[in-house]
């Protein structure tokens, strides 16, 4: 499982939120005075209803959503007002996995994974697709880690949803990131595939020591894969603690109602009981 080529020179970066506010241009407040400290190498699951600010929280970490006030520190970078080349440098150290996979469908899997090397590739090399050998090797290793390397030269559109998400994870890995953000990575997948993707993320966290922050809609997935669970409700943190400790009253405070069968993956309930 552990191939000797990619011994972890990457290790996690810490993330700190200090009094973070996000107000969107339309006046909607995405985050309200969020304070949060994530240690290097931690795996954190963020849960909450849709609209609670999960996506906003995750997207502030790589600057896809700019913060209005407060400060976020990722490793050595302060995110408030971070722009241009410095922002791109931060982003090169933070991988991201999206709900809808976000692959370029009409090109090969390998080309999609190589996206993770764009920051380190010059503009003319990008233009001519003259990738460095090392970068191609790195991309192949990333594909091996998520066990999909046999599809390297297939078009991304030929892959199933679960396979596409694993390619997206490989793309994040090819960045040699210190942090991986996952914005509802299982929301477009069926229950068994959801577990495959979550186990990949868990394995990457454990083996490479990369800090992982993952948004999840389903509580059982969050409890199972997040060492730590952060609950958001209308832009505020209402729970922060061990996933295993989160009981009925905690979920009530996050969801504003008691837990129902709709809040857990249908097939997992059977599997767990």
């Amino acid at each position: 499982m552990n191939d000797p080529h990619s011994t972890p020179e990457t290790s996690g970066a810490g993330i700190r939120f200090e009094h973070v506010d996000v107000t969107y241009p339309n006046g909607y407040r995405g985050l309200k005075n969020v304070n949060l400290q994530i240690a290097p190498g931690e795996m954190v699951a963020v849960v909450g209803l849709s609209g609670a600010g999960k996506s906003t929280l995750v997207r502030t970490i790589n600057g896809l959503v700019p913060i209005t006030s407060g400060q976020i520190t990722v490793g050595e970078f302060g995110l408030h007002g971070l722009r241009g080349a410095r922002l791109r440098q931060l982003r090169s150290e933070v991988g991201m996995v999206f709900q809808s996979f976000n692959l370029a469908k009409r090109t090969t899997v390998l080309n999609n994974v190589l996206m993770g090397r764009l920051h380190h590739t010059s503009a003319w090399r990008t233009l001519l697709a003259a990738w460095k050998k090392d970068d191609v090797e790195l991309a192949m290793q990333a594909l091996e880690r998520v066990e999909i390397v046999q599809k390297a030269y297939a078009n991304a559109s030929e892959l199933s949803g679960g396979q596409q998400q694993r390619v997206a994870i490989a793309r994040a890995l090819a960045q040699k990131p210190k942090v991986i953000l996952a914005d509802e990575p299982t929301a477009s997948l069926d229950p068994p595939t959801s577990h495959v993707v979550m186990r990949d993320l868990q394995r990457i966290n454990a083996e490479l020591g990369i800090t992982v922050v993952v948004n999840l809609h389903f509580l059982d997935l969050a409890r199972r894969y997040g060492q730590r669970l952060v609950g958001l409700r209308s832009g505020e943190i209402v729970y922060d603690g061990q996933g295993a400790d989160a009981d009925e009253s905690v979920f009530e405070s996050i969801y504003g109602r008691s837990l129902t069968a709709e809040d857990v993956l249908p097939e997992t309930t059977a599997e767990l009981s």
Binding site: M96, F98, T107
Partner: protein, 286 residues
């Protein structure tokens, strides 16, 4: 006006029971079909009105067509009898037309690709640059091909070179419009992911947007080539080379047997190209 008033009034009365009825639970009652028929009727009347007004203004007279038919019959008889012995003399012009179309297409589509990325909201985050490029391209596109041809014939002189320049500008307008609009409509997931890895917009567009737009780009290139064959026959009329110049010559001397052969040749080229392009497009876009 009266039509509109009537329609609105009726819709109001019909809506009352479902909206105001005390027994209806919210959202469970079937909604009444909205009455929008009158809008279509008004639109149809307006369009019909404009058409009739245009016809009167232009002086459409179908009677004249029949009266002039006698004068035209002689010409028409000649036109249906192409003189095939003229064929060898048309070959150079025919080849020139095809060459002009190919060069014009090649040059314009190469220039059009980077400009298209500049002119699309999806690939250019700078709204000022976007506005400038779009404005310039709108001006370029609004000039008809024949006007470009006359312009270049005046500046450069008669011949194929003027024709090629005219075609390049004419194509550029069309190509940038089509490709930038295709870019606007693309799924931008890959681009977002690239930007999130720390790539610049240029790199993200190259890596994630170019592969997505490539099939459209190739298929529109074939379409532009097709347009150019047609256009290069017309722009020759003002002296910009190709079959058009030959058409102008034989027409001046009332050699309708020759003219009909040229028209027939154009028809054959266009049909062949049409077959080729539909074949190529089918293979490209799956």
């Amino acid at each position: 006006m009266s039509v509109a008033g009537l329609g609105a009034g009726r819709a109001g009365t019909l809506r009352r029971p479902s909206a105001g009825g005390p027994g209806t639970a919210g959202g469970s009652a079937r909604p009444t079909k909205p009455r929008t028929g009158w809008k279509s009727l008004v639109a149809l009347l307006v369009v019909a009105g404009i058409t009739v007004w245009s016809a009167i203004a232009v002086g459409v007279d179908f009677g004249a067509l029949i009266e002039n038919a006698n004068n035209a019959s002689n010409t028409l008889i000649q036109l249906v009898q192409p003189d095939y012995s003229f064929f060898p003399q048309t070959v150079p012009a025919l080849v020139e037309t095809v060459q002009m179309a190919i060069i014009g297409t090649a040059v314009s589509v190469i220039i059009a690709l980077p400009i298209s990325f500049w002119a699309s909201r999806a690939t250019n985050p700078n709204s000022v640059a976007l506005g400038i490029v779009r404005f310039v391209m709108n001006v370029v596109r609004s000039v008809p091909d024949l006007l470009y041809a006359s312009l270049f014939v005046t500046v450069i002189g008669t011949g194929a070179l003027s024709g090629v320049f005219a075609l390049v500008l004419f194509n550029l307008g069309i190509m940038v419009k089509l490709i930038s609009e295709a870019l606007d409509g693309l799924d931008r997931g890959g681009q977002e992911a690239s930007l999130a890895t720390g790539a610049t917009w240029f790199k993200a567009n190259r890596q994630a947007m170019l592969p997505e737009v490539a099939p459209t780009y190739i298929s529109q290139t074939i379409y532009v080539l097709e347009l150019n064959i047609r256009a290069s026959t017309v722009i020759g009329l003002v002296g910009a080379g190709g079959l058009g110049m030959l058409i102008d010559k034989v027409r001046t001397f009332y050699q309708y047997h020759y003219l009909s052969l040229i028209i027939f040749e154009i028809l054959v080229i266009i049909v062949l190209l049409e077959l080729l392009s539909s074949f190529a497009r089918k293979r490209l876009i799956k």
